[in-house]
Symmetry: C2
């Protein structure tokens, strides 16, 4: 049995905690988790988890927990074999993922695993870490932190792993690293971890759900159940947007089967009234990941001549929501109001 891989996991919310649990349960990784808002709570009593895959888990603690990202070189720490990032990814709001990960990544050694949604998320990382393998993790897992340190894991964890292509590295090595990580992640047998070498296909496939249903639910504040119930929403808002994603994916050589559209629309049972993560973020006044989930697919698709008028509208509406939140948080300032009524009468 190999020794446990020294693993850093950044972003220990709903998805990240289940990842940490699977890695620890498998016995092939020792996870150091970086916590933020829940650090105090979890230091004291661990995570309380109610999971479809693991059952009731009381007081789960990863091998180590930290309240800040470690600086490996400066503090002469043991380098991390895996640096896993399960945070949200919004390139339009600092800090960027690269800024976040940089102190933890050992050049030429660490394997960076991005368990995040969207397209082109690897681009800034390939530029920042040209000697490191960067893996793609596409997660299908319904899990939420319902209170500090309390995780409700409702939908089984399925993780699809592949390697982003780093032009300076040997693709064979990258693929081996992807396979190795897949094995380590799935070693506990409580989740599905699958090696999917065609990262592009896997990501475009998930975008069918994320770019479209996430967007529509975030914009309209209809959950996926109400989206199916309200007159005309599926036919006029969901389906044509999803066909734009299929057309864009096709322009990049990824043939997403037509019946995936209905599969995705009806994936969440109506009476579950499930709000997708972006809708939850809007409701909670949190930033949304609209640039990689909607912006990049639109930019990529239109760059190849695919008409994407509907997703373009969604993109700009989501952009307006982000702008409003930035204004609220003081990241954007606007001129003071002027009482125009005083000028007349």
């Amino acid at each position: 049995m190999a020794s446990k891989a020294n693993t850093l996991l950044i972003g220990c919310g709903g998805i990240g905690t289940i990842s940490a649990l699977n890695l620890e349960v498998g016995g092939r990784a020792a996870v150091t988790a970086v916590l933020r808002s829940n650090f105090q709570e979890v230091s004291r009593k661990g995570f309380d988890i109610r999971s479809v895959d693991h059952g009731i888990v009381k007081g789960f603690k990863p091998t180590k927990i930290l309240n800040a990202i470690p600086n490996v070189a400066r503090d002469d720490l043991t380098p991390y074999k895996y640096v896993i990032c399960t945070t949200k990814n919004y390139p339009d709001v600092p800090p960027t993922v690269v800024d976040l990960l940089r102190p933890a990544v050992t050049p030429g050694y660490s394997v960076v695993v991005l368990i995040q949604n969207g397209l082109n998320i690897e681009k800034p990382l390939l530029a920042a870490f040209p000697e490191n393998v960067i893996l793609s993790g596409v997660s299908f897992c319904g899990s939420h932190e319902i209170a500090s340190g309390e995780i409700l894991h409702e939908d089984s964890d399925k993780l699809f792993v592949g390697a982003f292509r780093n032009p300076t590295l040997d693709p064979t090595l990258e693929d081996l690293e992807a396979q190795e990580f897949t094995t380590i992640y799935g070693a506990g047998g409580k989740c599905i971890a699958e090696y999917q070498p065609d990262v592009g296909f896997t990501r475009w496939r998930k975008l069918l759900y994320n770019a479209c249903l996430n967007s529509i639910c975030a914009i309209t504040d209809l959950d996926t159940g109400r989206l199916q119930l309200a007159d005309g929403m599926v036919e006029n808002l969901a389906r044509p947007a999803m066909e734009e994603i299929r057309a864009a994916a096709k322009a990049f050589g990824h043939d997403l089967p037509a019946d995936l559209v209905d599969f995705m629309i009806t994936m969440d049972p109506i009476t579950m009234y499930n709000p997708p993560s972006m809708q939850v973020d809007v409701r909670k006044g949190r930033f949304i990941e609209f640039e990689n989930i909607v912006g990049e697919p639109v930019r990529e698709g239109t760059s190849r001549g695919v008409p994407m008028p509907i997703l373009t509208v969604y993109y700009h509406i989501l952009r307006s929501l982000q702008w409003k939140l930035k204004e609220k948080k003081g990241l954007v300032t606007i001129p003071a109001p002027f009482d125009h009524t005083n000028t007349s009468s």
Copy 2:
């Protein structure tokens, strides 16, 4: 001097009260106003109005006020020469405008004046009142009821009047009635009342603002100032939607000048941070007039082969907002939620 025209005005909020005031000030109409939520308050002390056109007006009372729509035939009342409707118009939520007006309209005598936005609002009225002249009032007037019986009138009242074409009546008579009403409305000299015989042009012109800016502000909850400030909103959400309206108007023979687009976008000064009425309605949890303001233009335009993908998206998003409100108010019922987490683990 002619005797005062017996006039009924239904919908005495921000716009309706200013209409009542102009009609009374002109001395050519005696206005009976039908009030709802503000009836008690206004019976007691009248309207308090702060107006760009009229200055400070304390305790304004129309000639008569009622708390319900009168039934002229049943109660043997003096017939109304004018029945003016300044309520919101949402055909998808009962009661319809026809249902509202029917008891007050004397067939073959009353002139119905619709001071309301949108396209095809006359259709159900022409069917219900085939012997009556139906006038179009397109109002440019910024006025709000900021508290019960308290009116803040910020933007001058400009009313454009013309006749909808009733196939059973003589167009010359209709036009004379439109001119007569225009004269009566403007007789006080405190507003602009203009006879515009080309009702279609006037309505499509206003749709340039209403179908587009109203929709976008209602959907994004950006006011017209923030719409101009937030990155990309004017170029990507407003302008292309307005070009769709121009194209649809053109298909109906109405040539809206290109520079109207910028005129409308910058009409409200940025630092006024003005929320258009539909945005105010969404914020206050009130129904929105999206069917006549967005739905009909989209249906009319596309029926003549004009591509309107952007406004079609706005239409369905607005439709989703209306649906949610109907659900909230119990006009729509949905299946009970089911706890799908109990089925596994």
